[in-house]
Symmetry: C2
Subunit: 291 residues, 2 copies
Amino acid sequence: MLNLTHVRAFLAVVEEGSFHGAADQLGVSQSTVSHGLKRLEDMLASDLVIRHRDGCVPSHKGEIFLPFARSLVALSERAVARLQSDRIRIGASSNVGIYLLQPHLRRLADTAGVQPDLVIAANPAIATKLENREIDMAFLEWWDGRPGFEARRWITDRLLIIVAPDHPWARRNEIDLEMLLQQPLLAGEKGTGTGTILKEALGTAASRLLVSRNLGSTEAVKRAVAAGMGVSIVMEGAVRDEIASGRLYSVSVAGLRLEKTLWCVVPHDLITVSPTLETMRHLLEPQALSS
Amino acid sequence: MLNLTHVRAFLAVVEEGSFHGAADQLGVSQSTVSHGLKRLEDMLASDLVIRHRDGCVPSHKGEIFLPFARSLVALSERAVARLQSDRIRIGASSNVGIYLLQPHLRRLADTAGVQPDLVIAANPAIATKLENREIDMAFLEWWDGRPGFEARRWITDRLLIIVAPDHPWARRNEIDLEMLLQQPLLAGEKGTGTGTILKEALGTAASRLLVSRNLGSTEAVKRAVAAGMGVSIVMEGAVRDEIASGRLYSVSVAGLRLEKTLWCVVPHDLITVSPTLETMRHLLEPQALSS
DNA sequence: ACACGTTACGGCAACCGTAAGGATT
DNA sequence: AATCCTTACGGTTGCCGTAACGTGT
């Protein structure tokens, strides 16, 4: 079996580029690092670092081993951390975590007294964290149905076409599809499935959509649209306040209804763990929110 | 730092349900298992298994730790295995691995003398294996653009509508969309993106598609179609032989061209490792195949 | 009495730090 | 000579197996 202390020494040597630096980083003597690395190399029957006069670099095999080493150390640290704090950790894609999930978490705290940690990142990154058990459950805009997980429908939110108050469309309730196709669209975060929904809804016409640029986040998109830089399509929950206050206007396309189903995903091996199950049960409750 | 030998002992106890069984499984004495588990529990400051009269079960914290333990042991074993064999490991979704990749692997063996291991599984499962570094690169029908990976277009294959030789459509070159919409479709493996492509291409009409049943694999779909159980849509490469021999016929829908782009995906931290890079370079070569 | 896990004890290997030794520039 | 890694040596710790010891049935 590998010794994780030695693996850690290997990582430190690669990061620091020297045995001395690695020893300092780890707070051990330099010979300990040398020893540990040698043990590891013996165990693996492979030279892992090339000792050079001025600095060390991973060898060929070292480069192959490097990602494993990182994952092993990170995983073990996550494991102990996860056991120390018994807080549930919930992941959510940016839009969901920032705009949609908050009132539900509030309700969870009020009714069940549970206050989970919330991890917000891009949709695919959250899927990765779920796979690594960095989080216990995820609320996502898009899920690929990979095995080992249970995905349940959470809520369905409408997608709105938003424009600035001084945009010509702001005075209309409805536009037709052709107008939308001729207007450059500002895109937000990638990998959230909005593009797929548009393609499904528009069919062949989707290829004529003009995506002028990617802004990376919904908040940036909202500011850009408000500043008159174009129009965009976002989840209703993300612009409720702006529309209520008149900072943004929404318009519909005749005969087009866009909506996105959001998912709650839990690994199968955590679904039996009672606090996870309990939390999921609370958050999935169809009970209406006061907001 | 965690001791992987102890983690392994924990896993064995949980699997076997007893310390004795675990000791047998691991080929050590029973007290060693007891000791190791105690060390682990001390390290984690958590009781991991509940010692019962007739068998042991993981405690609450044990259940939380369990997936970490499995991942740690599996990852460490993969790491040593990966260093022992210097064979590249290529993953591919079923269709790609079975039908499309083979001639390219042949060419790779002939020109570069490289014979990689091939791992075939469902598309999302391959994505997971890639994330875990179980494979070095993947050829996929669908990729979600998650961070940390480089995805390059590999080839584009047409999607064909296939029917049995005695099907009424077999005598026609072309049908119209309405006919397709009224015909039940046999679906193959899930998560391969074919559904998404159909939705994009057909737009709102996609909702009228009749998917009669899921058969799980393309090979099953081909047999079912040949037996007259319905029609289906598959990648051209998967039915080239059957069409050439007349066991299946393909028809087109007027004005509809369906195709699927396949991807070659490599983790960023492996792309610099020379044999991986070399292999990818060879397989991505646009050079025409003799077949 | 039996089955099972725990604890005590001794041997052995692993680990660590100090310090001396080599190699390269 | 200076720098960096390796190796030798001794003390300490951790790990393992044998065997004795609780504890429930």
